[in-house]
Amino acid sequence: MRKIDIELLVGIFVIAGIFALGYISVNLGELEVWGKKGYTLYAEFEGIGGLKPGASVEIAGVTVGKVKSIRLTRDYTALVELEINNNVPLQDDAIASIKTKGLIGEKYVEITPGGSEHLLADGDKLRETESAVDLEGLLSKFVFGKVE
């Protein structure tokens, strides 16, 4: 009787351990086991300057979603798939811009909400976008612009 108790205890412990491991791997790996947490929007950019899948989507500095995937379109622009949390409605005149954290930090997508009556639904396209600002390009323009 006593022996069974110990074995049972070990069994429960092992099962609990497996669950904990599963939970950690799902959370750390940002896997979607329980389905989508938000709705999907697409945004087309001229240049994304090294934006990576998994990068955050922010409004006023608050993370409201993430970049799900990025692919190249036939026009050689970048089509970014964004997953936005369900509790954050966005208007069809909202503007998505690629920004850099700090001067040389990682890239993220910033959204400035609009004021239109039309809300974007799952699968819609965010038409208004601002591409990543090419600092080196601007710098060289400034330099060459000064040379006469």
Partner: protein
Amino acid sequence: MKKGFIIFTVLFFLFLIPVRSYSSEPMKQLRVTVDKVLEILKRPDLKSPDKEELKRKLLREVISERFDFQEMAKRALARHWRKRTTQEKKEFVELFRTLLERTYLRRIEQYSDERIIYKDERIEPPYALVKTVVVTGQSVEIPIDYRLIQRSNDWKVYDVIIEGVSLVNNYRKQFVQIIRSSSYESLVERLRKKIK
């Protein structure tokens, strides 16, 4: 059978033609406006300083034909637009238009020998994007994109993106911040002071 094919072909081309001519409309209309602006700037009889007022008046007329200042103001105010009364909206559009004029008209007047290249256009009715590049005398290229919206037969500009920076977004961020930190009234007050 053969007859059916011919009818089909004729119908097919009939449907194709309007789509084709329509597809280049935004760029064409924008080009007409830009050409008119350049024409005014190049007119020798308007070069003297005492003609400046007349020149500005002409420019204003040509530009407001193509630019939808109400849409711009609406987009710049974002969610605060809906809270305004009709009277306030009207007043704000006028303020915003004057602000843009004060900021950009002088730059347009500095035009000397820049070339404008029309690169590309993308249309997703009722929206369109026309991409242009301004090449300055020192052959520096400045990309300028225009976002247009269709209003019956006319395409109207509602946003200008210079070097990847959106004009509407620039003002939207500033306006929203000012309204948040103080009030709409103080934003109007500041705009009034700015354009004086």
